[in-house]
């Protein structure tokens, strides 16, 4: 009944931070409508996109996410009137910061998906999964986590001398 599932060598981990009122309901609609979308996405439900702190995205990357999706209500549809407007500004700035620090922004996707847009949810998730799959695993933050202790180098004669004296 289901189409043959394609085998891939790399299955990316995608973390989706979604708002409970729109995107979560949209994803639910996709499910009840029996639409197929990649199972790579792990959905985390929040009251509102305004509740999604940039530090969550950072944490997701540190804990091994290869891609992050943040999704909520369309502007003007927020259950809390203005949560997504605040989130829009915050994320616009946060992605600029990540870009400056050297994170590839193709791994971070923002979207508005309403409760009626099951099809759009499928499209957004599929696109992001395929994009991240083609980019390979996110190694930057994982490598940082694996690095031991303070790894300052002995790069001045004084430090070298002090080191030799130990």
């Amino acid at each position: 009944m289901h189409p043959e599932k394609q085998k891939h060598t790399f299955e990316p981990k995608i973390i989706a931070f979604v708002c409970t009122w729109c995107t979560y309901a949209g994803a639910d609609l996709a499910g009840t409508s029996r639409m197929q979308y990649p199972s790579n996405v792990r959905v985390l439900k929040f009251p509102c996109t305004g509740r999604i702190d940039p530090v969550f995205i950072l944490k997701a990357f540190q804990q091994g996410a290869d891609g992050v999706l943040v999704s909520g209500c369309h502007p003007g549809d927020c259950h809390y009137i203005a949560g997504n407007f605040h989130a829009r500004r915050r994320f616009a700035v946060f992605r600029k910061l990540l870009e400056f620090v050297g994170v590839d922004l193709n791994r971070l996707q923002f979207s508005w998906v309403s409760a009626a847009e099951g099809g759009k949810w499928v499209e957004v998730v599929t696109d992001l999964t395929e994009k991240v799959r083609s980019m390979g695993p996110m190694t930057e933050f994982k490598e940082l986590a694996l690095e031991e202790q303070w790894s300052g180098t002995i790069d001045t004669p004084e430090l070298q001398e002090a080191y030799n004296a130990i």
Binding site: P54, V93, L97, G102, E147, E148
Partner: protein
């Protein structure tokens, strides 16, 4: 050796500050004045709080008056109303920090007596406080300063700062980094963040880091690794830059106090540039009810959102 930047007006400013501090203290207008005094090494300066008019003679203003004194008012903000009005000596950049704090309801204008300083610039480092101010020794923030003359103070000495045009050091460095590939930028910042020893001097000196409990000190849930290891360091500096976005006044104290010489203000300047571009916001002398990240319009850019 480049030519010295003329700071001869600083001696007249010192004199004016002393006279004004003595006046407001003796007339009882303020209970204390926060300013700068000479420290032990020749040419160096340190923050001082004076309570009597007799001590006003200790106040100075020199190129080594680098500290942002606004931080003393944030930490002490709860006691201000009890002690009465406090006088504070502010450079343009320090005043922007005070204005930001007033906008965030941390301080009240009527609790402060502002002594503004017409400032040409201060030293980048106080390791050799007696060196003259040149294009090399001047603090990078002073090369892009647009606030040499503080606005809206209660008292400003009459001297006019004559400003030498200098190369914008931060703008040049940000442009250099932006031209790199993401992987190269990551390598650069990884090297910088790896140096961090998590002493939190940047947090302690920042006038805007006034949270009673910092997110980064909490352990349930622990959002940022607290050990001085590369992962936690990178997260700390990213969180720090994000929490200061739209608030940072650009006093660059974080960068000055960093014992590991991490270019922290680069992140803050980059964020300031983005906020200017996105929301036309700049730290200034006008107290705003809402910062750029606590307000919105329905026409904000959303080209990055699907």
């Amino acid at each position: 050796m480049t030519s010295l930047i003329d700071t001869t007006i600083y001696s007249a400013i010192t004199e004016a500050i002393r006279v004004e501090a003595a006046r407001i203290l003796s007339e009882g207008e303020v209970t204390a004045v926060v300013g700068y005094a000479a420290a032990r090494r020749k040419g160096s300066a340190q923050p001082i709080v004076i309570n009597t008019a007799a001590d006003a003679g200790q106040l100075i203003f020199t190129p080594s008056c680098v500290n942002n004194l606004a931080v003393y008012l944030t930490k002490a903000k709860k006691e201000i109303s009890k002690t009465g009005k406090i006088g504070i000596v502010v450079k343009g950049c320090d005043l922007k920090a005070l204005v930001g704090l007033m906008g965030e309801s941390q301080l009240k204008r009527e609790d402060m007596y502002l002594i503004g300083v017409p400032c040409i610039g201060v030293l980048a480092s106080t390791v050799q406080p007696a060196t003259g101010l040149t294009a090399e020794t001047i603090a990078p923030k002073c090369t892009e300063c647009d606030a040499h003359l503080p606005q809206g103070c209660d008292f400003v000495p009459a001297q006019t700062p004559v400003v030498t045009k200098l190369e914008h050091k931060y703008a040049a460095e940000i442009a250099r980094l932006e031209a790199l590939t993401p992987a190269e930028r990551w390598a650069y910042w990884k090297e910088q963040f790896t140096k961090c020893i998590k002493c939190y001097a940047c947090r302690q000196v920042c006038p805007f880091c006034f949270c009673e409990q910092c997110l980064c000190d909490r352990n349930k849930p622990q959002m940022v690794d607290t050990t001085p290891r590369p992962a936690g360091n990178a997260a700390w500096h990213i969180v720090r830059a994000m929490h200061l976005a739209g608030r940072c006044a650009g006093c660059a104290e974080c960068e000055r106090v960093c014992p590991m010489d991490i270019p922290l203000n680069l992140l803050n300047r980059k964020m300031a540039m983005e906020l200017k571009e996105l929301y036309d916001y700049e730290a200034g002398f006008d107290v705003l009810d809402k910062g750029p990240l606590t307000m919105f319009t329905d026409k904000d850019d959303q080209s990055f959102i699907k």
